[in-house]
Each structure stands twice: as structure tokens, then as C-alpha cells.
Amino acid sequence: MAGSKGSFPARPRLSPLISRQAPPPLGLPSLLPPPPPVATSAAAARQSAMMSQDFSPSQFTPSQNAADSTTPFKMRGASGTMPLTVKQIADAHQSGTGEKGAPFVVDGVETANIRLVGMVNGKTERNTDVSFTLDDGTGRLDFIRWVNDASDSSETVAIQPITDFNEVTLHFIQCVRMHIENTKSKVGSPTRTGSSMGVSGSNGFSESSTPTSLKSTPAPMTIGSNGSSTDLNTQVLNIFREPANIESEHGVHINEIAKRLKLPEAKIREAIAFHEDAGHIYSTIDEFHYKSAFAD
């Protein structure tokens, strides 16, 4: 929605976009090329449905704002996105494990899929790429989308213009909450607030999951005493409460937990049985997949 006045420095104001991406290296994620105008509305409708886990679909209307002529990108985004600000990304460091899909760490939490909300500036289209800057008020991040980038499905990017500006506020609130929960959990035992940051009302916000989770240590842990079992139970539960796992429909496979904690499956089963009895988790598609019972 253009709002700049002629008497002010020429500074085209573009509507803020939600940018979702999985940036393997910091700062230069890749984006899909803009779809043709006819496909934009359909893609936006699909995008609305895809993003319903984070926002109410009613907040993303397929119709384009007439002034949003510079917001053509419509792509599917990965599920399980973490709301972040540009400053948090700038302060993040890459994960020491270097595993694909978990490229950097924010507030002690490994993050692969992120969500940004900001104002697009200075879009430049070239033959080989499209570049723009995203300004969310905490910093400016340059984006480059290579036109012929052969990205695999794990690096899909979704960009959608904002039509309800309450999304801007909601995003920042989610960033604050995520930051608070992640930094609190580093001090003591993970605390779950149990309170929703969403606001009931005509806007119909749907709460995006903001679980508390700790970065799992890759070092193997010796289980001996009851105290160590408690630590294992906590570690297993933290994995289930990671944002990506909470938003995953099928949850987490036991083997994945065993691989991350470098422990035998039998030990993981014990912890899972404990949490299942306590009501913390539940099985999904089979006896190997479990999911946290808490959405936030």
C-alpha cells in the first residue's frame, strides 16, 4: 500500500511481506521467480491455506491490493517456521553440527525455517536473479533469488503481502514471546506459560506454536541413576516441543530422537513411555511416531 508523499524523498513504500525461507547461508537465501499474474491469486489462496497453521486463513485474502503491484511472489513455505527479526538473524551463529536443515542457532535453538515480516525496499530484477531488501525495523536484510536456482523442496520460500496489518504486530509479539521462552529455558527448567498470546476477536488470529525448547546436545549421555533418567526424559520432551516437531503432522520418529541423542532406541522408548503415560505426548500414525500434546 503506497503511502509516500511527493514532497518527501522518493522512497517507494512497498507493502510489507511475510518472507519465509530456509537459509543455509546467512543473508543470501534463494527465492522462486514470481509467478504470472493469473496464477498469483490461486497461489495466494493456496498460500492462505498453507499458512493457516500460523494465521487464520481469513487474514489472507486472495485479492490483491491495487497498490501492491510490486509484490508478485507467491510460493509455498515450509511448515514449522520460527518467527524472527532481522537482528536476531544477524546475531545468530551457525549450528556446529552443520546438519542440513539446521543451519543456525537463535537463542540456543537450532532453526531451519524462519518467518520474517517487513517492508520490501529496492527490488531489482535482473536476468539471473531478483533481489530486494527487507526492513522490519530491527535491521535490513538483503535477499537474492536466483532465477534458475535448482533448489530442492527443503528450501522452498513463501512470500506473501500483508493485507491485515495486525499481522505485523502479531509477528513481533510472537518474536518476543519466542525469545522470552527460549532464553528462560536456558536458565532453568523449561517453563511453559500455558497462556496464549493470540487475541480473540473479529480478526480471528490463530495461534502459532511457540514451544520452549533447548538445543539438543549431540554428545551421548550415560543413563545410570534416576537423576540421569530424568534428564533423558527432559531431553526427549524438549525434542518433541521443538517448533518444527510441534507443527509436524506426524510428529517425530523414535529413530530420529535416538540419532540426535546418540542413545539406543530402547532408552528412548522408556522416556517415550513415561511421557505418554503422563499425557505429554501421543502416538500419531504408528507406534514409532509421537507428537507433543501441547500446541504452545
Binding site: 543473508g27 535491521g139 535490513r140 476477536g201
Partner: protein
């Protein structure tokens, strides 16, 4: 990342401490005459926005600009947020204080 000149989130109360700095805020338009707009901030203060675009009365407007005084902003960019913005705008008043003063890590100041 370019962090220079980033605007600080402000409401009427915080604006007093931001004179001369770039700020961003949301106001509800009360009246607009000749490029001078008067709006109500999230915490109930009357703010004067100079150089604002024509935003209808009762609409919410986001302003990026420079704080000229504790009650006026010289606007650089304005965006009409419409009249549906506001279900959660009052908590923004508290959020500004929280964001700027305590949980500054996600934000730069």
C-alpha cells in the same frame, strides 16, 4: 546487515525520550488538514504528524519519521492500516515499553 538509523518503536510516552531520533508509531487519525495530521497514539496521547499522507479519519496509520518534539513527528513514510487495525493495538502501548526497554535483544536501539 545494515543497522544504521533504525527507527525505534514509540508511543506518546516514549516519544518524549526520542526527540531527534527516527521513530515509528501507529496512530489513529483524528483530523487531517493541509498535511498536518493529528492522531491519537496507542497510549492516548495526541500526536501531530507533519507531512502525513491523506489518511481518512478514524483509520490507523503507521508513521516512520523523526521525532521533532514530545508530541510531533516529521513523517517520512506513512501507511494506511485501515480501520480494522486495532483489536490488539492497545497492548502495543505496553509492547513498546517491553520491546524498547527490557527485551531489546530482538530489537536494536
Amino acid at each position: 546487515m545494515d543497522a544504521s538509523g533504525l527507527p525505534a518503536f514509540a508511543n506518546g510516552e516514549i516519544l518524549k525520550t526520542m526527540v531527534g531520533r527516527r521513530v515509528r508509531t501507529v496512530v489513529q487519525v483524528q483530523h487531517n488538514e493541509g498535511g498536518v495530521l493529528v492522531g491519537q497514539s496507542t497510549d492516548g496521547h495526541q500526536l501531530t504528524i507533519r507531512g502525513a499522507t491523506d489518511v481518512p479519519v478514524s483509520h490507523f496509520m503507521e508513521v516512520f519519521g523523526t521525532a521533532e518534539s514530545d508530541q510531533s513527528i516529521c513523517a517520512e513514510v506513512c501507511t494506511d492500516f485501515g480501520n480494522s487495525f486495532g483489536e490488539i493495538w492497545r497492548p502495543i502501548s505496553c509492547s513498546c515499553l517491553v520491546l524498547n526497554n527490557r527485551y531489546m535483544i530482538p530489537w536494536t536501539m
